[in-house]
């Protein structure tokens, strides 16, 4: 097996801390897969082997976990994975228009990656931000809310320049929190 994928000493120490939270050998598999994916950008089979070896688990078990949960990238994806929610509220508030706008703009379909490896687009299920629909999440990270085509264009420009959007604190209107800026 290639030597490309390894955990550093610090990461191994972190993994020991994770193990201490659970009374059994298997539970650390999810947090350690997260750790691996955040480091390597994916959890392809070689990374799965590393996780299995580190936790002394059968690789088949790790593979089973990776394939059950949609957020683990068992195959490499674009640097920026654009997860556009098209479920229920987002659907009725224009989620598909946002998805199709992105598809047109980037010249790929949902489920595909641009040739330069910069963007992947996915149509995903409710992300728990229905009050801020339509919305998308970037690479399992920041949420972009109340999307319009213009807002999407700006996000893409920023991402091309290597700039991720910042965390948006969503208002709790009951307290007179500010209205979201209308774009």
């Amino acid at each position: 097996m290639s030597q490309k994928y390894e955990f550093t000493k610090e990461e191994l120490a972190e993994i020991e801390k994770i193990k201490a939270k659970y009374p059994d050998k298997k539970p650390p598999v999810m947090p350690v897969l997260w750790l691996a994916q955040n480091k390597f950008g994916h959890v392809e089979p070689e990374v799965q082997h590393l996780v299995a070896k580190t936790l002394d688990l059968p690789p088949a078990h790790v593979y089973g976990v990776v394939t059950f949960y949609t957020q683990y990238y068992g195959e490499r994806k674009g640097k920026y994975v654009l997860d556009v929610c098209t479920t229920l509220t987002c659907q009725v508030c224009g989620g598909y228009e946002i998805l199709h706008h992105l598809e047109e703009k980037l010249g790929i379909k949902a489920g595909e990656t641009t040739e330069d490896g910069l963007f992947s687009i996915q149509s995903v299920e409710c992300l728990g931000a229905c009050g801020y629909a339509p919305m998308m999440q970037i690479t399992n990270g920041v949420y972009c809310n109340h999307l319009t085509k213009e807002k999407v264009d700006k996000i893409i420009d920023d991402l091309r320049a290597g700039k991720l959007p910042e965390y948006e604190n969503m208002p709790f209107y009951q307290h007179g929190d500010p209205e979201p800026s209308k774009s």
Binding site: K21, Y22, P23, D24, K25, K26, P27, P28, V29, M30, P31, L33, W34, H61, G64, V65, F68, Y69, T70, Q71, Y72, T86, T87, L88, T89, Q91, V92, C93, E125, C126, L127, G128, A129, C130, G131, Y132, A133, Q137, N140, G141, V142, Y143, Y167, N169, M170, P171, F172, Y173, Q174, H175
Partner: protein, 428 residues
């Protein structure tokens, strides 16, 4: 019923700046209830369970089960470990309210979990949060770290002799992991296949040990009950389903968002007053009151319907997670129901045939109808499929998939009929 909702002061998410910071929380009476219980001996574990039971906090995760009653199912301590799994999976479409607790008042939830831990002699609380909530997971971790630093968690909490650990566990994208037994499988580091019940979690839960699963919002109510008493709690909102509740309202309203009000609010007040009406002054076509699995109500049947278990049952739906989706008159109900069934098909774990095949077949039939290829008899096929799915599976996902279809076909029949091909009868 207390209908004076306009003067209601939020208690789950009170209007206090930076309340998520532990110092601010403490300055505003936070962690006082722990001190009352651990130092002033306000409660024994038994009296605490009874108080919470009397308050009738009905689970905010969807099923609406009395939290204290659930706690009372835990067997007597035998010296071995016992667990709480706090359910922050929040993946039922239309639901986005637990995240407000993570963002704005995480310590209320932590304090509630510690009190619950004391009541049931718990060893560790695992806070399961959907993986997509990366930012909220970090916020929660920070809040827990701060609570440890202040001695509210860990060994010998407030010198009471009681120990409790609290850990955050991140999901990774699987709706089914919100189902309590699937959540436990996931916590155990496996694929999230729901378990056959019995045994129930109180008997055999995490790692075969007694476990209680509660929703995040449910646990956040506990310090309020300890502070103000069960009588105070039951005086708020609907008699049989009391308390403050976080309504997550989304869709075609002018001001969607999460709002805290008593249970038993009129749906029309929530839409017209709280959310400032429907966008563009349009009419309401349909409302899904409590997340995608709760049966949709017609816009012309909302008069007098309140957001509590009894009123919604009478109206033909359920409270669910109080994640309400409002759809205006231009909404294509057939499309919406197809998309909901796509969701459940996608999220079915595939263990049970009626669910695995049923959700697929529902979706296929709905695609046919939506694309204008359906026939009148497909509507009956849909209803028949629902009957074959309901109550026949390991977990309630199959029911959750069937209900919206059944009730949409029944209540919005004209929309479906408009989309199917006119049947031509051959004349002999």
């Amino acid at each position: 019923m207390n209908t004076d909702w306009k003067n209601f002061e939020p208690v789950l998410i009170p209007n206090i700046k930076d309340l998520y910071k532990i110092d601010v929380y403490e300055k505003n009476g936070g962690y006082e209830q722990l001190k009352k219980v651990f130092k002033d001996k306000k409660h024994t574990p038994e009296s605490l369970v009874n108080e919470v039971k009397a308050a009738n906090i009905r689970g905010r995760g969807g099923a609406g089960f009395n939290a204290g009653l659930k706690w009372s199912f835990m067997p007597k301590p035998d010296g071995g470990p016992r667990y709480i799994a706090a359910n922050g999976d929040e993946s039922e479409p239309g639901t986005f309210k637990d995240r407000v607790i993570f963002e704005r008042n995480p310590h209320l939830f932590i304090e509630g979990s510690i009190l619950a831990g004391f009541a049931m002699d718990i060893t560790a609380v695992y806070v399961y949060i959907r993986g997509e909530y990366r930012d909220q997971i970090n916020m929660m971790q920070k809040a827990i770290d701060d609570a440890y630093a202040k001695g509210y968690l860990g060994k010998n909490i407030l010198k009471s002799g009681f120990d409790l650990e609290m850990y955050v566990h991140s999901g990774a994208g699987a709706y089914i992991c919100g189902e309590e037994s699937s959540l436990m499988e996931s916590l155990e580091g496996k694929r999230g296949y729901p378990r056959v019940k019995p045994p129930f979690p109180a008997q055999k839960g995490l790692w075969g040990r007694p476990t209680t699963i509660n929703n995040i919002e449910t646990l956040a109510n506990v310090p309020l009950v300890v502070k103000n008493g069960a009588d105070w709690y039951t005086s708020i909102g609907a008699k049989t389903h009391p308390g403050p509740v976080l309504y997550g309202i989304s869709g075609h309203v002018n001001r969607p968002g999460v709002y805290e009000y008593p249970t038993g609010m009129l749906i029309t007040d929530l839409i017209n007053d709280v959310c400032k009406g429907v966008r563009g002054g349009k009419k309401v076509k349909a409302v899904i009151p409590g997340g995608s699995s709760t049966p949709p109500l017609r816009g012309d049947s909302l008069d007098g319907v309140r957001m509590d278990a009894d009123s919604l049952r009478t109206a033909g739906s359920m409270m669910g997670t109080a994640g309400m989706i409002v759809m205006d008159e231009d909404t294509d109900i057939v499309d919406v129901i197809w998309r909901i069934s796509h969701f459940y098909h996608h999220e079915s774990c595939g263990q049970c045939t009626p669910c695995r095949d049923g959700t697929g077949f529902l979706e296929k039939t709905l695609i046919k109808i939506k694309d204008g290829e359906g026939e009148m008899r497909d509507l009956d096929i849909l209803l028949d499929l629902c009957t074959q799915m309901e109550g026949r599976t390991i977990c309630a996902l199959a029911d959750a998939a069937a209900w919206p279809v059944r009730y949409a076909v029944e209540r919005f029949r004209e929309d479906f009929e408009k989309r199917v091909k006119k049947t031509v009868y051959a004349v002999a």
